[in-house]
Amino acid sequence: MSEQTPVKEAPANPPTELEKRFPGAVKRDERAGYEGHIVEVAKLHEVAAAIRDEMGYDFLSSVTAVDYYSEAPEGENFIEVVYHLYKSTGGGALVYRVQVPRDDAVVPSLVDLYPGADFQEREAWDLYGVKFEGHPDLRRILLWEGFAGHPMRKDWKEPYFEEDVKPFKNRWPEGQVYRIEDRNPVGKNVSYPQGFDPEGFQETDDPRMYESLERSSQDFVERIDTEQVVVNLGPQHPSTHGVFRMAVRMHGETIVGLKPVMGYLHRNHEQIGERNTWTMNMPFTDRLDYLSSMSNNFGYALAVEKLIGEKAAPPERAEYIRVIMAELTRISNHLWAIGFLLNDLGAFFTPALYAIEERELILDIFEATAGSRMMCNYFRFGGVARDLPEGILPKIKDLVTDRLPRKVEELDLYLSANELVRSRGEGVGVITPEEAIAFSAAGPVLRASGVPYDVRRADPYSIYDRFKFDVTVRQHGDVYDRYMIRIDEIYQSLSILRQALKDIPEGEIMNGKNPYQVRVPAGESYGRVEGPKGELGFYIVSTGKANPHRYHVRAPSFINLTILEKMCVGQKIADVVVNLGSIDIVLGEVDR
């Protein structure tokens, strides 16, 4: 596993670079298993600006909060906001954090420095109740305005609460199963504040969202005196790729403001993840980006293995299997993305049918290996769950060397030069490289804007440093380039697959036995992989117990959406769905 922390100096006393630069404002994080620095809350903005401008950490990968809560009064009681930053030229992470009291959690917002922090800060506000001072639009993002409480706080209990951690002890009291809903007075998954009267209750979520939409399109209103129309696309809309909603404010057909509304598939992945044991979370990661479950497995496995250390280093054969599966996933995901981008362009279902046909062949391989078409649950800490079945390697070889290249070329041939694809795609939704980095865009969206950043190359993990492949990059940053980059990536993945299939050794597939429970030492780790949608990161905090203390997913689809408004303003309404399709979101990952 690669060492990802260039700023982590020797544990001796000499002050680190950051400590020298900001005496008093920054101090090293001394806790065992933690890296990075703790920044004074009051100085955060100043320090962050200097880190961005002087040290070149221009890519804010992840912002998240952690709740350190204990019922004992002398225990630690604070909320920590953790920032992971990278250089867009490659290299390891810079981590800094601020600590604020739980009852007065106010942190300066970094949206003006890193616009990509926008949604992530809103998420931290929504789930942890951390107020980001100076945030232009601090509304709830995954839940709705008016929801009682901030559910990720450790002292907030959900209506179906049974125990703090799994496995639950009382699953079968006296040999009889009970259903938790039978213990709720309403018989549903609900709880209300005391004295609440539902009669005549008014929703407040939509009005606040429309207010914010109007505010963001204010300057347009002042210049031109015409009536503007607000159109809602979604959450039930065939082109929003799931239950995603966009409120669009239009002048004629031109978009003057757009607010994404999400959370319609917010199924509390992180909260459930903190109740689960480490291993139990693996099948849940499948359901994040459900088009590429193997990649999600990969990211989570890496994060936990990093924390466990050498004991969980996967054997050689397992590493190869992992790479093969991850790259097959990338291909199947991109095939789907291309097919459905064409759907959005108006070529209804025909290109998608051809793409799905190839995807089915890849799913067959997954089914043979992992036992399930979509939800593979295949990776384990220190290897993979089971060996490749007999006869599957020739099948993969066949697919990779013959069928897929042929079929992708066919798609390329018929679609890429197509007049309609070009005229609907070229020059639409242009993102400059600076914008892409500032908005923390990742994956194909970033690379289509001319930034050759690929985690596999910039910060290699697993055995990716052994393979020859090009980091695909396109220069225009428009919809057409975001389409083309996926075709390019399929070719690169095929090339990696061919190399991996040539070199795959025989041998063990697990480091030791596949345990029922894993011991994860206390500390934190951030594991990231280049998922098909972009940089997929898992931030985990362990206290040495059987369950994660914090389990956060840096979801590329979610963060790539930050730039959607910028992409769409000034364009026509018909381009909105195309822009959205070119980002390639999966709602399971956006809302988690």
């Binding site: 959900e158 609460f161 309403v186 209300y192």
Partner: protein
């Protein structure tokens, strides 16, 4: 169709058709004809919620080919569709829209809960934003197990729906009765999701709760140990 199969399967109204007419005359019930038309043209709503939607799309695609059942016509509008396949986790934020869509569908309408989540909450049941089963709000005709159900499982569920349709009778089905079918009240996003049908129970529950932070589901038999 051969003579043998015509008589027993279609002619089941109890009339004996003379042998010389059996090639050209069939006597059956109105129900049978009605149901046959209905079972082969169930138009699903193009409506995906989560992972299961992907398998639903795969079912509609070339390998599994939903068109064999006359169901390939996915309508994006609820006004034109007969079947709502609830394909995925139903969240509290989404349930008002689902109920609204259900109300907008014209009768006869069917609902299929596809997958564990739509049937009962699935792996995400305990989540604070998850509705444990769409049947808490709208009536469900067929449940399809699986996480996600494979296309084969979905097809099996659709065939079960066809069987259900076969058993209908136009004299008894509720949409041909005199009374108007009331719309289902749309839930409201309050401090938690509010089902207007439960208003009285909610008021009751909110008034008697002692500790505001304690969960409503805390059982009387305090088995749950402190952390």
């Amino acid at each position: 169709m051969t003579e043998k199969t015509v008589t027993p399967t279609v002619n089941s109204a109890g009339y004996d058709v003379p042998p010389e007419l059996r090639q050209s005359v069939a006597i059956t019930t109105l129900d049978k004809i009605w149901n046959m038309g209905r079972r082969y043209s169930v138009w699903p709503m193009m409506f995906g919620l989560a992972c299961c939607a992907i398998e639903m799309i795969c079912t509609a695609a070339s390998r599994y080919d939903l068109a064999r059942f006359g169901m390939e016509v996915m309508r994006p509008s609820p006004r034109q569709s007969d079947l709502m396949i609830v394909s995925g986790t139903v969240t509290k934020k989404m349930i008002p829209q689902i109920v609204r869509l259900y109300n907008q569908m014209p009768e006869p309408k069917y609902v299929m809960a596809m997958g564990a989540c739509a049937s009962g909450g699935g792996p995400f049941k305990e989540g604070y934003n998850v509705v444990s089963g769409v049947d808490q709000y709208i009536p469900v005709d067929v449940y399809v197990p699986g996480c996600p159900p494979t296309p084969q499982a979905l097809l099996h569920g659709l065939m079960k729906l066809q069987e259900k349709i076969d058993r209908e009778s136009i004299t008894k089905v509720r949409w041909y009765q005199k009374d108007e079918i009331p719309a289902i009240p749309v839930p409201i996003l309050g401090p938690d999701i509010i089902d207007p049908r439960d208003n009285a129970a909610i008021r009751e529950m909110a008034s008697r709760k002692a500790a505001p932070a304690a969960p409503a589901a805390q059982p009387e038999t305090a088995e749950a140990p402190a952390a």
